[in-house]
Each structure stands twice: as C-alpha cells, then as structure tokens.
Symmetry: C2
Subunit: 234 residues, 2 copies
Amino acid sequence: MRLFYHSEIRESDVEVVLNSEDSKHIVRVLRMKNSDQLYLMDGKGFRYMASIIDANPKKCKVRIDNQEEMPKAGKGLHIGIAPTKNMDRTEFFIEKAIEIGVESISFFFSENSERKNIKLERIERIAISAMKQSRKFHLPSLHLLKNFNDVLSTTMDQKFIAYVPTQTTEYLFSKIKKEGDIMVLVGPEGGFSEKEANRAKEAGFDWVSLGKERLRTETAGIVAVQLMNMKTFI
Amino acid sequence: MRLFYHSEIRESDVEVVLNSEDSKHIVRVLRMKNSDQLYLMDGKGFRYMASIIDANPKKCKVRIDNQEEMPKAGKGLHIGIAPTKNMDRTEFFIEKAIEIGVESISFFFSENSERKNIKLERIERIAISAMKQSRKFHLPSLHLLKNFNDVLSTTMDQKFIAYVPTQTTEYLFSKIKKEGDIMVLVGPEGGFSEKEANRAKEAGFDWVSLGKERLRTETAGIVAVQLMNMKTFI
C-alpha cells in the first residue's frame, strides 16, 4: 500500500488533509478515489492506515482508520559532517546514511569548508524521501550548527573525529564498542585543521582513521556510518 | 602537480600527444605553457613526469621526463552488480567503490533488472575520474557481461551473493577471510530471483546478508565493498 508523509498528525485527529503535492499525486497520478486506502507516516514512529474521504487534487482529505507504533531501530548512530561544496554529494550522503540507519545528522561548517550555508528544508525533503524509500518510520533529527564548537558540546558515550595525523592512527572499527550512543565527525574537502582536531580531542573526541584510502567527504561519511553500524553486529 | 590520464603510453615513448579535451583544458583553462610540467598516468600503475613541448590547445605534446611504477593496493576486492534503472546511482556507486578500492567491477543483467543495457565508455570515464580523484594509479577492470550466468563462472577464492532468504542468513563480515580474492554479487532493485540465488549457490556462492536494513542497489554495493575492504583490517 502507498505510503505518504505527514509530520503533524495528533493523537486526537480523525481526519487529516494532505498537502497539495501529495494530493495531486494521489488524485491525478495514482487516480485514487474515495474509500481507497493508503498509509500515512509521521516520521515519529507512527504508521496510520487511512481511507480517502474527499479525493480533492489540491487538498485530499483522509479518515484515519487505525494507528500503529513501529519499533525504533535505536542503534544510536550519530554523525556530524561538513557539507560538501557540491550539494548533490551531501544529498547522496544523507540518503545513504538514512538507509544504513543513523539517528541524527549534524551539519557544521569548519575552517576549511568551501560551503558556508545549507538549506535545511531541502535537506529535510531528501531525508523524508530516503526514510520512505527505506521503509523506516523515524525521521533522523537533522541539525544545522553555526560553527564547529557547537558539534563538540554533544553528550555521546563514544565520540570520534576522522582525523589522521599519523600512519598509526587507529581504525574506527577497532575502537567502537557495542554499548552506548556513538558519534563520528567528518570534515570538509580540505579536512579538519590541526586546531580543530586538537579542540575536538580536548572535548573528548578520539582521533580515528576510516581506512587507508583517500576518501571524499561524502564517502568518508558513508563509510563512517557503515563502520558505526557494525557495532550492532559485534 | 596536475595529473592527466593517457591509456596508451608505451615503454619506448619519448613524446606523447594528449587528447583534445585534456589539451584544451591544459592550454586554455590552466594556461600552461611550453616546459611546464605535469603528471600522466596510464591506469596500469605507471606515473610519468612530463614537460609540455608544444602547448597546442587541440593536441598538446609532452616529453616524458621519467616514469615511476606505483605500488598496487592489491586488496583483491571484486564486485558484480546489476546496473540500477537510474544510471546516476550506478555512477555514484562506481565512484565510491573505486575510492574504497575495488580491483574489478562486473555488470550483469538479471531477471529482475529494469535496465538491460549500459554504456561501457561512460562507465570508463566515471572510473577514470574516480581513480584520478582518489590518487590511485590502477584502473579497476570493468566488465560488461551479457547475462547472469557469466558472472557465476568467476574463479575467486571467496564468493558471495547478497541474498537473504531467512532471518538467520549470515552477515557478510562474519564470513570473510583475510586471505584470497573475494567477490560479492549485488542484485537489481527487485532483488535476485530464487532461481538465480540457487544457481549461484550451485556455482559456489554463499548466501549472505549485508545487514538488517533495506538498502537500495547502489547502497548495497557500497556496503558490500566496504565490508570486503575490512578483510584488510582483520
């Protein structure tokens, strides 16, 4: 059954009006009619079965038939990343990170960042679409931080920064532990500055390597998420 | 120093003429002049230092000053993948797979493939660009196979197919061994058919899971490459 996103469904809601984009898609493209059924999700873990009661192509109205709370993966994976110069790459990263299963993504700008702004609405659209596609029901929280210091104030059990000053910097996978939330920071194209890496260390972030290869920012992000994800298998 | 790709440099070559695209870029965009130096790579492991002797924007000629053979990572990672319907996704996969470090990519078409063709020249361009970007000097071999059976005839030490018939299908990472070449097959959007999975099993491919999440084809491909890559750390 088709699945649509609606962020503002309250427990007391019996009827809900869908936004114009979804309404048009439902009525004009899918040619759904009154009493046809669909699923709604709110990104907060609930899935609602609903029936169309007014197939209006601008504001399609549905009646909620039942609601179900979906289990949260709760793997506790968090990533902080500097947006890439080319936004397509960051968007691809977001999609992949959500598929693999992150709980939050924090964007920050650092000394070597070529990009100094990012549109949170656009990011949210990508995230919602990735969540739907991968059949998840919890939208990861998305944070836009003004500067690098803000990301350092996080209270996670395991904190890492992908910064490789020497050949012997330890591989992330060999440092992660099964229990507790985990966060990895990934820098911009030019990497973290030494000053930033030191500041992170003072804030309790361990320096780690993501492997022997030279990776682009978005690849480093995907690899970091995948390595964190392995804590659920160790 | 700038790095350019030229696939056909012979050991006896003293002078080389670059293609029109690189020539234009070197002379018109970078405004390089006679006796300026650049690097050439042939994708077969050699890096050449060269000096411009005719800054012609259509056929820039260089003299080879010296050649150096670069070490091969030789991690023995191979992947077979069904191209995605949307080629952008496959191209992104190729880039990421090369960054992480595959030795070969085989494209095959399977029962559920929505896409039944792929342009090898386009793929090669993407691969060359990813190789340059990630400062590698060996171009992975790219294979275009007519059908699924062809990919099964491979002679690798470790062979896996990402096919999850039950909850207890083992995780790829727990099955990989440090020694020997390794290949993983990743299916198209609709997954492998049962028949294909059985045929693969007969050909010696173990069924494995890439994790608990529902992943798109290209994400499954990236995750598979990253999991194979971990064999270099175990």
